[in-house]
């Protein structure tokens, strides 16, 4: 038993294993309490809800690794979605050709990327604090979006947009597939590329990284630029899932993404954190909320349980840390 545990721990790391065991426990508890919990419908609904939050969390993860934060994620997603909606509307709305959709997606991703790039340049080259810069960008994007949409919904898209939010590909929900690809790309970027390596170093000690020849400004700029790109992808999925775009949609996700990162063991001060534990943390949060929902708990209560759960995790980590240190 202990041997298998050690083998698994060496393979995935203690963080991932701990979260995975916890996830299994949560699934078992809810599975016993509610027969509908393990039904296809419920699993499907989790699979469809996870990706938006998941992609936004990936967008939040890397700025946190560099010791920063991107508070503009949801509004970057909104404004990117709005860009796509606008291109579709200009080209006939419901009857827009697929070419318009392709152009719209390219435009949406460009807009999200640009928003991230601007933030990155200001943070890296002006040296302004990421919280202030991204807060300013968030307010700018929100104001701009509300001005353009007059605070209302934009809807009426072609039929073929729907599957991106609701369809399946070889039995897997398409948004989930997009999220899985996003998570894999992020994982490879952080663990195997020069940029990812530099991001960790910049997050730990930007001065020492600079002395060692890391182009710290370029690294920071790229981190926020890619965060913007990821937001744009989330925005496109949100558009097709709700078949509409509204500025402010998903606003509540901002803090949840931060919490999912911390729950996944990302160091709030930067320098440490991996994609896989964060993804597991996201799944746990989503499973908790849907399980409570099935048990008939109020949605607000579910939010409260998330909060309690996060506090609990911090306390457990503290004990774990003490226990681990005593071993020496």
């Amino acid at each position: 038993m202990t041997k298998t545990y050690q083998k698994l721990r060496d393979l995935f790391g203690a963080e991932v294993l701990g979260l995975a065991l916890f996830l299994i426990a949560v699934i078992v508890v809810f599975g016993v309490l509610s027969p509908r919990f393990l039904s296809g419908a419920n699993v499907g609904s989790i699979a469809f809800q996870l990706p938006e939050l998941g992609l936004l969390t990936l967008a939040m993860l890397v700025p946190i690794l560099t010791g920063g934060l991107n508070l503009a994620i949801t509004f970057t997603a909104n404004i990117s979605g709005l860009t796509l909606a606008w291109v579709l509307q200009m080209n006939g709305g419901v009857d827009a050709p697929t070419s318009a959709f392709v152009i719209g997606v390219i435009a949406a991703i460009s807009v999200g990327t640009l928003a991230g790039f601007v933030m990155g340049v200001v943070i890296a080259y002006i040296g302004a604090h990421p919280i202030l810069v991204s807060l300013a960008m968030m307010i700018f994007l929100r104001g701009l979006g509300e001005f353009l949409t007059h605070g209302g919904d934009i809807s009426g898209f072609p039929e073929y947009v729907q599957p991106i939010g609701h369809g399946y590909f070889v039995g897997i929900p398409i948004p989930l597939l997009i999220f899985i690809v996003g998570a894999i790309v992020w994982h490879v970027m952080l663990s195997r590329t020069r940029h990812g390596f530099a991001a960790y170093m910049v997050g730990s000690n930007i001065q020492a990284a600079g002395y060692s020849g890391i182009h710290t400004k370029r690294t920071l700029t790229l981190v926020y630029t890619l965060s913007g790109t990821m937001c744009a992808i989330a925005g496109i999925i949100m558009l097709s899932r709700f078949n509409s775009v509204r500025v402010g949609h998903g606003e509540a996700y901002i803090l949840i993404t931060v919490l999912a990162c911390f729950l996944g063991g990302v160091d709030p001060f930067g320098g440490f954190g991996r994609v896989m534990p964060v993804v597991l943390a996201l799944i746990i949060l989503q499973v908790l909320s849907s399980g409570l929902n099935l048990l008939g708990a109020n949605q607000h209560l579910a939010t409260a349980v998330w909060g309690l759960f996060l506090i609990g995790v911090m306390v457990i980590r503290w004990f774990w840390h003490r226990f681990a240190q005593k071993q020496y």
């Binding site: 663990s191 390596f197 960790y200 730990s204 000690n205 002395y211």
Partner: protein, 506 residues
């Protein structure tokens, strides 16, 4: 000379006398039957390598730790069975820790006098009283500081003075100073030493903990040497030499042999002509050849580190030329310098030399990421492991696992990691800025062995050092820098160390 003194005090009542102090933490003996004595008004030095028990004994005297049974403690003639921090302060013992423990946003007056406002009963802090008390203390020290200035606007030296002032407000009769001069310039050190002398003349005993042996010998009248938690002895500083003190601290004899060789026939690697950067250095002419170790010594503030930064592309010189392997270079950043084969070991290992909390392996490969990529442009873990292993073996670094945080290593081994990471860039010119800062005396020889080996392999080395003996014994030529200019050059083979010391400290 330099025999341990048996009982130098005799008639005087010592400020502190502790005997048979033993302290164990778990199974580790930090102090083993140590005795220690300080006379009133004496400047005493506590010397020893890191981990020898210096801070443990201070913490016992100030009541932070309780000694194991059997210890005798006597403070100003008063026998005590136990000390608590409160009793220790009441008896007039104060410690100025290296980090000073001051409040950066509060004013000078508040920092000096706030402790009078503490107590069990909440009190209203009266500003006028604070100012008055602080002003009195500063007058007593003979220094003039703006009482209203926020502490963070002061220089490190001025902050030291504030910390001393705070101790005096509490009527300290014995002050411990932990590495007080570590970050001071020479003239600031002089000022602080003058203040120490003044305190001593007023009957306040000062115990110095310092790594800078020259300073230790200059200021104190006696030195207590600890090694591995045991008392080596108490010595008079009259007639004590740095090398003898080093031997006592480490228990090894260091054969200080001049390593200089004639390299004047070797091809030139670095040539600097008339290099000037306003306010930092002027008209620097310098040649470093293959296999040559050129030492630059001088006082802190002479512009040595600034010159190093300019050669490493961190700053842009105003005028003059840098010629590397025969071609003039103009670095836009340190990345250009690294690519041209310049490496720079910073004097500040903590914030600049290493990415501290990250792993040993990551720190080594940090400047050479391009060399560990696979054919897809991704970092190859096998190439990374190979690079890391080969450097750790090559420099004989003692580590646990390459994935351990670099913070788990001792100063000497951390410095080897810094060397490894720069050597991995295959430099032609290696700039070492204070290469033994924070490295134990015993581990320094190992660092210089590596330096010499690298030179023999053909690397050109520019070594900046505060410690004149270090530069003297390990360089082929020693340059004296002062006020931003090169003002003298010495060949260690035909110069004595005291000639250079005389010139530098003149």
């Amino acid at each position: 000379m330099n025999q341990p003194l048996d009982n130098p005090s005799g008639q005087v009542v010592p400020a502190i006398r502790v005997r048979h102090v033993t302290k164990t933490f778990g199974g580790v003996t930090a102090l083993d039957d140590v005795s220690f004595e300080v006379l009133p008004g004496e400047v005493h030095c506590l010397a020893g390598e890191n981990g020898c028990g210096k801070s443990t004994i201070i913490k016992i005297i100030t009541g932070v730790y309780q000694p194991d049974a059997g210890a005798e403690i006597e403070i100003f003639g008063q026998k005590l069975s136990a000390i608590t921090p409160t009793i220790s302060r009441k008896l007039g013992i104060d410690v100025i820790w290296q980090d000073l423990a001051l409040f950066p946003l509060m004013s000078v007056a508040e920092n000096i006098a706030f402790e009078g406002m503490l107590g069990n009963v909440p009190r209203i802090a009266r500003h006028a009283t604070l100012r008055k008390k602080a002003a009195e203390v500063l007058t007593r020290l003979g220094v003039d500081l703006d009482l209203e200035a926020p502490l963070h606007t002061l220089s490190v030296a001025e902050r030291q003075i504030v910390a001393v002032g705070r101790a005096l407000v509490g009527d300290a009769r014995l002050v411990f100073m932990d590495e007080p001069t570590a970050s001071l310039t020479q003239s600031e050190t002089e000022k602080l030493l003058a203040i120490v002398a003044k305190l001593s003349s007023e009957g306040v005993a000062v115990v110095f903990v310092s790594h800078r042996l020259a300073e230790v010998l200059k200021i104190s009248s006696r030195v207590t040497v600890l090694r591995d938690g045991r008392l080596v002895g108490v010595y008079d500083t009259d007639g004590m030499t740095q090398s003898h003190l080093t031997e006592l601290m480490t228990g090894h004899t260091f054969d200080s042999v001049v390593a200089a060789q004639d390299r004047s026939k070797a091809p030139v690697v670095l040539q600097v002509k008339n290099l000037t950067r306003e306010g930092e250095f002027n008209n620097i002419d310098l040649t470093v050849r293959q296999g040559e170790v050129v030492g630059i010594t001088g006082l802190i503030g002479a512009g040595r580190t600034e010159l190093g930064h300019a050669l490493f592309g961190m700053t842009k010189p105003g005028s003059g030329e840098i010629i590397l392997n025969g071609a003039p270079v103009r670095f836009r950043s340190n990345r250009d310098a690294i690519n041209s084969g310049v490496a720079y070991v910073s004097e500040d290992r903590l914030t600049l030399g290493l990415v501290q909390p990250q792993s040993i392996a990551d720190n080594i490969v940090l400047p050479v990421l391009d060399s560990i990529l696979d054919r897809f442009g991704l970092i190859s873990s096998s190439k990374k492991d190979k690079t890391v292993r080969s450097w750790i073996d090559d420099l004989a670094v003692k580590i646990g696992e390459p994935t351990d945080p670099v913070t788990t290593l001792s100063g000497g081994n951390q410095q080897r990691i810094v060397l490894a990471k720069w050597l991995a860039t295959k430099p032609k010119l290696l700039i070492l800025d204070a290469p033994t800062v924070g490295v134990d005396v015993g581990a320094r020889a190992g660092i210089f062995e590596i330096v010499r080996k690298l030179a023999d392999q053909g690397l050109a080395i520019l070594m900046i050092s505060d410690e004149i003996p270090e530069a003297y014994f390990n360089s082929d030529r020693v340059i004296h820098m002062a006020g931003g200019e090169f003002i003298g050059e010495y060949d260690p083979r035909s110069t004595t160390i005291s000639e250079i010391e005389g010139a530098v400290f003149a």
